[in-house]
């Protein structure tokens, strides 16, 4: 309600002054105040994107994998992007979806971890706290109709406990002994379940790595937005280890027989 006397009995938003009432004094305007704020756009779609992230539980902790590609549409634009990000001593964050939003999230988490460090109270944030923080962040942003366009996996190991959970642009969360985001949730998740479920407490680190390698290979064959270079993160009682970039072994000889790919025989 506008209580200003000079606006009484007037239509709102009149840009002209038909009765020549100026100058009495400056009348407050009823037009939107900040033309720039009106120009702010909310995220409608991701631009530079990463594809699947995989995560599994194994005997000693959590293992995660993501390739090094950031696509611009269907163009394989950036081939050296790390999509597994350490958060403190116990946690790794893996991201699919918009890579600029992922970088923004990294910045927020970095500041959060510094605040916690500066408090110096002897406590540190573990994977459960980081995941809960992210779920609140993602849900708050989707509620502003301006989501951070990612699907995230949070994996970690703290106080003798494994943690693996998912959160996405809607603020949806769930947890399981195998998780995959994006295309991987269709292609790799069934493979991971068959290999891991029921064996979480017996799988060795080598076996877990083998499972992820095979899943990443299948994803590279099937997912047109994937790359054969990827990294593996291992989180155990010893802390976080994110591997150097590794290359998948693939064989494309079968492709010769595919009509439309190899030399045409008829």
């Amino acid at each position: 309600m506008d209580h200003h006397p000079t606006n009484w009995g007037r239509p709102r938003n009149d840009t002209v002054d038909p009765y020549g009432t100026y100058p009495i004094h400056q009348r407050p305007t009823n037009v939107p105040k900040d033309a720039f704020a009106a120009g702010i756009q909310h995220t409608q779609q991701p631009i530079v994107t990463g594809t699947s992230v995989l995560g599994i539980k194994f005997k000693d902790g959590i293992m995660m994998a993501a390739d090094n590609l950031a696509s611009y549409g269907s163009l394989a634009r950036f081939r050296d992007i790390q999509r597994l990000h350490p958060v403190g001593e116990h946690t790794v964050l893996g991201a699919g979806g918009d890579m600029s939003d992922f970088q923004y999230i990294q910045g927020i988490l970095d500041e959060l971890m510094i605040d916690e460090f500066a408090a110096g109270d002897g406590h540190t944030l573990g994977p459960a706290e980081v995941h809960n923080y992210l779920s609140e962040l993602m849900y708050a942003r989707r509620s502003k109709m301006n989501p951070l366009w990612n699907s995230l996996l949070v994996g970690g190991f703290k106080d003798g406990k494994r943690f693996l959970a998912y959160v996405d642009l809607l603020g949806t969360t769930y947890s399981a002994s195998t998780l995959a985001t994006g295309y991987g949730s269709h292609i790799a998740q069934p493979l991971l379940r068959r290999a891991v479920e029921g064996r979480e407490d017996t799988l060795t680190e080598d076996e877990a790595r083998k499972i992820l390698e095979q899943s990443m290979q299948v994803l590279f064959y099937r997912d047109a937005r994937s790359l054969d270079q990827y990294q593996i993160a291992t989180i155990t009682a010893k802390g976080v280890n994110i591997s150097e970039s590794r290359k998948l072994e693939t064989s494309w000889s079968f492709a010769e027989g595919i009509r439309g790919y190899g030399a045409q025989t008829q």
Binding site: D110, E111, A118, G120
Partner: protein
């Protein structure tokens, strides 16, 4: 005190007839009544140590910390009013976070010290605020290596004696580990046992063993340093 009741000590923007600003003098008094704080910049790191006078037996050990962390690699020790120390530390944290947000890199000690200097000075300019009753030592290991602004610094009650002790050391040749031992010795030395009540030693460091982080000195080294400090005190009396 002669200044009280004259009306000249009500504001930091009022001079007394003989050209003094009492509010600034009060601030210095607050520092002089506080336990000593020292900082040592050595070959491979920085050590901060504080003589924290314990005013009441009811206080839990470790309460009212006077060494605080500003950023991963920056520490801050104060002498004076504890609450003012926390205000300045909070501002320093905000500045460090702001620097990181703007420049996307960890702040150097120099920029943080500059900004805190400006912040503190602003509180000497207006009648609506009083000056901070603290002296502050900032220490860091940043991209240019260990940083303190000085090789050694001392503030608070025992600063004169602490400074002469610091001058006797070859600070640029010490390791951080050796500096912790020396810092504990100096704090124990400057503490006036007869006059003062109990005190708690508080020490933090940034060095190769801390991975460039500002953290409390680990318990084993702390105990070693404290034992040696007490030993040195006894042998010094003989």
């Amino acid at each position: 005190m002669t200044s009280i009741g004259t009306g000249y000590d009500l504001s930091a923007s009022t001079y007394s007839p003989d050209g003094r600003i009492f509010q600034v003098e009060y601030a210095n008094k607050a520092v002089e009544n506080s336990g000593t704080a020292i900082g040592l910049k050595v070959k491979d790191g920085v050590v901060l140590a504080v003589e924290k006078l314990v005013h009441s037996k009811l206080l839990v050990p470790g309460a009212n910390r006077r060494i605080q962390t500003v950023d991963r690699h920056i520490g801050l020790a104060t002498a004076g009013l504890p609450a003012d120390g926390r205000t300045v530390a909070n501002r320093a944290r905000d500045e460090a976070a702001g620097y990181r947000d703007f420049y996307r890199s960890p702040p150097t000690l120099k920029t943080i010290a500059d900004r805190i200097g400006h912040f503190v000075q602003m509180y000497t300019l207006y009648s609506s605020v009083r000056p901070f009753g603290i002296s502050t030592i900032l220490g860091a290991v940043d991209k240019d290596g260990p940083a303190l602004g000085y090789h050694g610094a001392a503030v608070g009650k025992g600063r004169q004696l602490a400074k002469t002790e610091l001058e006797k050391l070859k600070l640029s040749e010490l390791t951080a580990r050796e500096a912790v031992i020396e810092a504990a010795r100096i704090i124990y030395l400057v503490h006036e046992d007869a006059k003062e009540k109990e005190f708690e030693l508080e020490m933090s460091w940034i060095g190769p063993e801390t991975n460039g982080l500002h953290v409390a000195v680990p318990k084993d080294l702390f105990d070693e340093a404290e034992a040696k400090a007490k030993e040195a005190l006894v042998s010094g009396l003989e």
